[in-house]
């Protein structure tokens, strides 16, 4: 007896809708087993991960704060992935955006620069993220270099560059030698939405980005172009759409969004530039994009869900001494199941009995 994948005659729309849910279900089952192996009570662990963060206002705000960069980055990535352009380096674009925006904050520190500072930081961060994303895109279009590899490698370049800046030229002289810039001035800080709370303006920007992406993909010719280039490249060429231009465009847009997310994170919840400003947002956003089925609304929901796992992971660490890395394991398993379940949209499992085949082969 043997298990094989067989192509379905018709694409299953039901599975297309429920496959993210199946993936989450399978992930939770796997995590239960994992918690048991770690010697933790699985029920308590799952409660800490998924229920506890939803029960107090602070955690709820924190979920929105964590979801903000995830959603913004994932929206940009979804445009790339829909157009068959594989940007894996959003983490690097996020960091470069953070660095570029911080430059203005650092340079205006202690001066009486006005309200233009924060908008200028946003613009510069987005531009830097876009330019940084254009490196792999242009290498792909001009030389055929795999954008998957080049965009990924540039993450480490960005990471080390940031490290150099905060340990060297931008280090806060009063910072007791910690690798960090000084705390940003109020004009260089993202305003809070609730006095004394955590929620900040970035979440509103993320919602606007979701709405813009929904309009772009659903109503505009550019959005149609993105979808058709990915879904049927030859037909797209026949339609007069240029796949290479689209690689450039989608990389630039996703780089800009990642860069913007980077500066919002630094000028918002963090408040200064330092290493480790991202717990891997740029990579987790890949999971968010796929879990959200590359659909803006889906990405919003998926972003909130993955933010929950970050907060839940922290609470589980505090309450049950479950290592934080388990969150990363969780996210990895989730991506694995999401992609696996996606193949069930076009394929189905089938049991094959080889002995019957042999018998019928002899007629």
């Amino acid at each position: 007896m043997q298990l094989v994948l067989e192509k379905r005659a018709e694409r299953s729309n039901t599975i297309a809708l429920v496959s993210p849910l199946i993936a989450i279900g399978l992930t939770i089952v796997t995590m239960t087993i994992l918690f048991a192996i770690l010697g933790k009570n699985p029920l308590l662990a799952l409660h800490a991960y998924f229920i506890a963060p939803l029960t107090d206002s602070y955690s709820l705000q924190e979920i929105a704060v964590k979801a903000t960069p995830l959603v913004m980055i994932a929206i940009g990535l979804s445009l790339c992935y829909l157009a068959n352009a594989w940007n894996i380096g959003a983490e690097g674009q996020f960091l470069i955006g953070a660095v570029a925006g911080s430059w203005i904050a650092v340079k205006t520190q202690g001066t009486d620069a006005g309200a233009w500072v924060l908008p200028a930081m946003f613009v510069l961060a987005a531009a830097a993220g876009a330019l940084y994303a254009l490196i792999p895109a242009i290498c792909k279009v001009k030389f055929g270099a795999s954008e998957i590899l080049t965009s990924l490698m540039l993450v480490y370049v960005a990471d080390l560059f940031l490290d150099y800046l905060v340990r060297g030229p931008w280090r806060d002289p009063q910072g007791f030698n910690f690798p960090t810039t000084a705390e940003f001035d109020p004009v260089a800080t993202v305003p809070l939405l609730i006095e004394g709370g955590r929620l900040h303006l970035g979440s509103i920007i993320a919602l606007l980005v979701v709405a813009a992406a929904a309009i772009l993909l659903g109503r505009t010719i550019k959005g149609f172009e993105i979808r058709v280039v990915g879904a049927a490249p030859r037909a797209a060429r026949f339609g007069g759409f240029n796949a290479n231009q689209l690689i450039i465009l989608t990389f630039a847009v996703s780089g800009a969004l990642a860069g913007l997310a980077g500066i919002i994170e630094v000028a918002g919840p963090v408040g200064h530039l330092q290493p480790g400003i991202s717990p891997g947002y740029g990579f987790t956003a890949i999971i968010v994009a796929f879990l959200g089925r590359l659909n803006p609304l889906g990405i919003l929901i998926a972003g909130l869900f993955l933010a929950l796992t970050f907060i839940g992971g922290e609470q589980a660490q505090i309450a049950m001494k479950i290592p934080l890395d388990v969150t990363k394991v969780f996210q990895g398993i989730l991506l694995f199941y999401v992609l696996a379940c996606d193949s069930l949209i076009l394929y189905r499992f089938k049991l094959v009995f080889p002995n019957r085949q042999v018998a019928s082969g002899t007629h």
């Binding site: 067989e6 005659a9 018709e10 694409r11 109503r219 505009t220 010719i221 550019k222 149609f224 979808r227 058709v228 879904a231 049927a232 030859r234 037909a235 797209a236 060429r237 026949f238 339609g239 007069g240 089938k350 094959v352 080889p354 019957r356 085949q357 042999v358 019928s360 082969g361 007629h363």
Partner: protein, 529 residues
């Protein structure tokens, strides 16, 4: 499910001799939403029979055979195999029971050899070496010569189909289904196929044969079942019918004749090609060699030739999917356009219909309205300031549906859910409704039923009458004779000088398609005479 009691379809020789049919469907029904693609179909297939399945585009032929081959699950009814009811879980089960199928669209990998392709399609656990030996033996026995070591890209369409047939035969099927096998073959290749089919029949196998070519059905088939609108309307002996009477049964009425308007005037040149040479884009493509022709408004130029002689490359060069360095090689409406993109050429008034419907002419998984936008965004007022005017795209769908009688399950389905012929009608309609000045169309009636083919040909003639220049590439010489004013032949990337259709005898065209030039032969003729 009620037990069916009904008359059996006749056997080829009129005798049932007490046995049961090889395959029977009882009340077989396939529903897509509210739409009945197959409505309670009863059909009997006897051994030693070539059974034709006829019907208009969208009548439900492919749907029926897909149910029989286990590719889709019927909504109701049953299938009996050698008298016993079967429920197929999928094609591999159908194959293991002795049901084989050759699809209209081949599923072969260009860069693999013949043997590797066959190995990929077999379920067995045989070693590659044994399989290759068996492949050679089967292809020899049936007179289907194939070199197992050749790579597929080197093969003609007819040879590729041979791979599919041999692959099916290697499973030793008792029952073989062929879905429009001759649509892509030259007449010679089709004749070879018929010899093989006769032989399979003589061995006691049964064949279910889908075709829109009624003359060949009359020649080859013992029985014909006719579907109309998803229902079976009749089973008859095609040899006792005429092509016209078969067509009447399919349509339920008369088929209109294609009429060229009497006073069609040619005007100014609207499409001119000057010494166009182009290296192939792909490793296995054909180089275009010094192609020149001139096409005036009001004129239809036919391009004949065996597939794979540069027709695809010529289409790409004319459409602008491939650009040429020298702008003057392609002139549209008096404007040098060789360097212009396909969108810019559309804006000059050109329209294009490629040969491949799914994946080239349309994005299969997108709706018809989105596929209307695919070519209409350039110049048909479907886009306002970057926003899609959905109403305008839907209107194009509705107008094409109405004008060309596109049959579909709902107003705006995915392109892939349309039957082959109906999708073709939609694509041709989409372009003709733009009132192009120049229309370049490849295989306009590939797999389209007789009635719809007449509609499409008439539309091409009407377009020319209205003053457009029309370039038609087709393998069907009868089609070209019917609508073209002049016919040129494509061979190894060269295009012959066009012949006036009245002078273009089958013999002359045949010579050109085989690569000989007319002049020396004619000279030799003159000397001999």
């Amino acid at each position: 499910m009620q037990a069916h009691q009904r008359m059996l379809d006749p056997t080829p020789n009129g005798l049932h001799s007490g046995e049961s049919p090889l395959l029977q469907t009882l009340g077989l029904t396939k529903r897509y939403g509210d739409f009945l693609a197959n409505d309670s179909i009863d059909i009997d297939i006897w051994p030693k029979e070539i059974h034709a399945l006829l019907g208009e585009n969208g009548a439900g032929k492919s749907t029926l055979v897909k149910s029989i081959y286990g590719l889709i699950q019927p909504s109701a009814g049953e299938i009996r195999w050698q008298g016993g009811r079967i429920m197929l879980s999928g094609p591999s089960e159908a194959r293991s029971r002795g049901i084989g199928m050759v699809f209209q669209h081949f599923s072969l990998f260009d860069n693999l050899t013949v043997a590797e392709n066959v190995a990929l399609g077999l379920d067995g656990k045989e070693s590659f070496k044994d399989m290759s030996a068996r492949l050679e033996q089967v292809s020899k026995t049936y007179g289907l010569p194939l070199d197992p070591k050749r790579e597929v890209w080197q093969l003609s369409v007819g040879e590729r189909q041979r791979i599919e047939i041999v692959r099916a035969l290697m499973q030793d099927p008792k029952f073989l289904i062929l879905d429009e096998p001759t649509a892509v073959l030259t007449p010679q290749e089709a004749d070879q196929l018929f010899i093989v089919l006769e032989r399979l029949k003589a061995e006691g196998r049964a064949i279910l044969y889908i075709s829109h070519k009624l003359e060949e059905v009359k020649r080859l088939c013992d029985t014909a079942t006719i579907l109309r609108g998803g229902k079976k309307v009749d089973t008859c002996n095609p040899r006792l019918e005429t092509a016209a009477s078969l067509a009447r049964m399919m349509v339920g009425g008369e088929i209109k004749e294609v009429k060229a308007a009497a006073g069609r005037k040619t005007t100014v040149p609207r499409l001119v090609v000057n010494d166009l040479s182009l290296a192939p884009a792909e490793a296995h493509g054909v180089r275009l060699e010094h192609i020149s022709f001139e096409l005036k408004g009001g004129e239809i130029l036919g391009i004949a030739g065996v597939a794979g002689n540069g027709q695809d490359e010529l289409f790409a060069a004319l459409s602008g999917e491939r650009l040429s360095k020298d702008p003057g090689t392609v002139v549209i409406e008096g404007i040098a356009a060789g360097h212009l993109s396909i969108t810019q050429r559309r804006k000059l008034g050109a329209a294009f219909v490629p040969e491949e419907r799914l994946g080239h002419g349309t994005a299969p998984r997108m709706k018809l309205s989105e596929n209307a936008l695919l070519t209409g965004h350039a110049a048909s007022g479907m886009v306002n300031h970057g926003f899609i005017d959905t109403a305008a795209t839907l209107k194009t769908v509705d107008r094409a549906t109405e004008t060309f009688d596109v049959r579909k399950a709902k107003r705006d389905p995915e392109a892939a859910s349309l039957s082959g012929g109906n999708l073709q009608k939609f694509i041709v309609g989409r372009e003709i409704l733009r009132n192009p000045a120049v229309l370049v169309v490849s295989q306009p009636t590939w797999g389209v039923d007789a009635g719809a083919a007449a509609v499409i040909r008439q539309a091409l003639l009407d377009l020319a009458t209205a003053g457009a220049a029309v370039l038609v590439t087709s393998q069907d010489l009868d089609e070209l004779a019917e609508i073209a004013d002049r016919i040129a032949v494509m061979f190894h990337g060269h295009l012959s000088a066009p012949l006036a259709t009245v002078d273009a005898s089958r013999e002359k065209l045949g010579l050109l398609m085989g690569g000989s030039s007319l002049e020396p032969k004619e000279a030799a003729h003159a000397v001999g005479a």
